[in-house]
């Protein structure tokens, strides 16, 4: 279990994290979402005792992590896969960490096997791709067989096969009763993995709830409808409370109604549908909507 209580971090005049409170419970994967620069990494560093909160507390298993003598058996963490020294081999890197925490040597071979790096064990990390470093970081996190796992953007650099592997791993770790806290700036990554979400923007909490509850917040879902009978369908959609934008070639962009309802209305008005496509998942929509005001870096044309 991870508990953040009124966690605040200021760097000079900028506030990276402001009054953040949430609880991450064992037994399921909890996604930690926010746009770039929202304060996710700062929060994770405070949880791991690497950065000192300006005020507030972060507890792991009821204690501040920084007060523990050794960490690997309590929390396995992958903060940045590049936090390694290129001169070591994968095996040496893990052996140093294992030894510092009184973890038997055979565990190094086991975790290398687990993450698929057994073949690269004696290669120096300097020659690793980012994906391989992610796997090495995950191996390090698993070394102590910890009840709590924290991963910061673990998908970066992984190939599609690696992403699939990671999702399975995260779900398995959670199913084993562990607390699994995974950050990402992409909702789509979380959809198929997380059951719980902690969403932040500009260092403040936006939501801490189940995935289902969060998805229900998306109100402005858009659906692309292509029909030769736009003249008949559009008034019906408008009457049902949607807003409709007509494009070329019979394309209607409908906002405010789910695809199922649009299908029903099409049936009632006997409009032929050629396409009926939800433009984005409700989760993605909810995420975009709720974080729209808190996006730190936007391109000039992207002002909302």
């Amino acid at each position: 279990m991870i508990e953040a209580n009124e966690l605040t971090k200021r760097y000079g005049r900028t506030t990276a994290v402001r009054g953040l409170s949430f609880t991450v419970r064992p037994g399921h994967v909890t996604g930690f979402l926010g746009p770039n620069g929202a304060g996710k990494s700062t929060t994770l560093r405070m949880i791991l005792g690497l950065n000192r909160p300006t005020s507030g507390t972060a507890l792991v298993g009821g204690r501040p992590f920084g007060a523990l003598p050794r960490g690997l058996r309590d929390v396995g963490a992958l903060l940045d896969a590049r936090d390694v020294h290129h001169g070591y081999t994968a095996r040496a890197h893990l052996s140093v960490l294992a030894r510092s925490n009184t973890i038997p040597r055979r565990r190094v071979g086991e975790v290398l096997e687990e993450v698929g790096l057994a073949q690269a064990a004696t290669r120096r990390i300097g020659g690793f791709s980012l994906g391989m470093k992610q796997r090495l970081g995950i191996a390090a996190a698993l070394l102590g067989d910890p009840p709590v796992l924290v991963f910061d953007e673990p998908v970066n650099g992984l190939d599609p096969e690696g992403v699939l592997w990671l999702r399975t791993l995260l779900r398995r770790l959670a199913a084993e009763g562990r607390t699994v806290f995974v950050s990402s700036h992409l909702m789509s990554e979380m959809e198929s993995t997380a059951e719980q979400l902690v969403v932040i923007g500009r260092g403040e909490l936006i939501a801490a709830e189940s995935l289902t509850a969060f998805a229900a917040r998306g109100t402005r879902r858009r659906v692309a409808v292509r029909t030769p009978d736009a003249d008949a369908l559009a008034p019906a959609l408008l009457a049902a409370g949607a807003s409709v934008e007509a494009g070329t070639d019979g394309l209607l962009t409908v906002t405010g109604l789910p695809a199922t309802r649009i299908g029903e209305l099409a049936s009632h008005t006997r409009a032929v549908l050629h396409e009926l496509i939800p433009r984005s998942s409700s989760l993605e929509e909810a995420f975009m909507e709720l974080t729209a005001d808190s996006v730190e870096y936007t391109t000039a044309g992207d002002v909302r």
């Binding site: 419970r25 000192r52 920084g66 007060a67 003598p69 050794r70 040496a92 009184t102 084993e176």
Partner: protein, 277 residues
């Protein structure tokens, strides 16, 4: 519903495992493995070169030099100033790299997330670095002494370990290695940046002494507070008829050689605990 994890028996944290971990960390890096033998070769080589020159030129030396050759010049050949400077520079750099490597690469975050007890972690590193460099210093100085004196014995002007002044002189030379390593390590924690740390370490250990004279009482005080000069005061025996002004006592110089690494270590331990990574 939470499934309880198998209650594994968690061993008590052991400091000696931190030592073993730091030992492994030091020797798993390729540069460490060749830096020590290479440094030994250079340091001993400088001594041998001087001893060979003295052996060749001995018949041409003036009566005064010949008279003072034992112990003054024989002791200098055993471990010349150039040897001391090279040793301080390289071992100081190795000490600095032992922490800067971790800070610059980001490994420090991985390490400290694994061992939140930062002071224990740094203490283990300090002890491993001290132990390794102390053994290295003793070995290099002993080899340099043995080889140079073997060369000089061909002229009958060599020293043996049992002669007066020899052991204190060699001890001071050997102490340079751990002293420099810890000063480098301290600056490493302070500055966390490779080039800056190496530059400052070299400045303090090797360059600064040549900017300070000893003609006045106060400049002499500053000069003999520097490690290289403290070493020189302990390791060399001045010819009897040229007493240098304002020379401090051996105890004073030993204190200087001890205070530098102690201050560096204390500063590092104080800094490492509170700082964000």
């Amino acid at each position: 519903m939470t499934i309880a994890l198998p209650a594994a028996t968690v061993p008590r944290p052991r400091f000696r495992d931190l030592l073993a971990s730091e030992w492994l960390k030091l020797w798993s890096l390729r540069p460490t493995r060749w830096a020590f033998p290479l440094t030994a070769l250079i340091v001993v080589g400088i001594g041998v070169n001087g001893a060979l020159a003295d052996y060749r030129n001995f018949p041409q030396y003036s009566e005064g030099v010949r008279e003072n050759f034992v112990p003054t010049w024989a002791l200098r050949d055993a471990f010349p100033v150039a040897s001391a400077m090279v040793l301080m520079l390289i071992v100081g750099t190795l000490g600095a790299l032992s922490v800067v490597n971790e800070y610059a690469s980001g490994l420090i975050r991985t390490t400290m997330a694994a061992v939140p007890a930062r002071r224990s972690l740094l203490s283990a590193k300090v002890l491993v670095v001290t132990g390794v460099t102390a053994v290295f210093g003793v070995a290099v100085v002993a080899v340099s002494f043995t080889v140079t004196q073997a060369i000089l014995s061909g002229r009958g002007v060599s020293l043996s370990f049992g002669d007066p002044d020899v052991l204190p002189s060699l001890a001071a030379s050997a102490a340079l290695a751990p002293m420099s390593a810890l000063v480098g390590l301290g600056f490493g924690v302070l500055l966390r940046h490779g080039a800056a740390t190496v530059a400052v370490t070299a400045l303090v250990l090797v360059l600064l002494p040549s900017f300070v004279g000893q003609e006045e009482a106060w400049t002499a005080a500053v000069k003999f507070a520097l490690p290289l000069n403290a070493w020189q005061n302990l390791a060399t025996v001045a010819p009897l008829h040229v007493p240098p002004p304002y020379t401090p006592s051996p105890t004073h110089s030993w204190v200087v050689l001890a205070v530098w690494p102690l201050l560096a270590t204390a500063a590092a331990l104080a800094l490492v605990r509170r700082r964000d990574l």
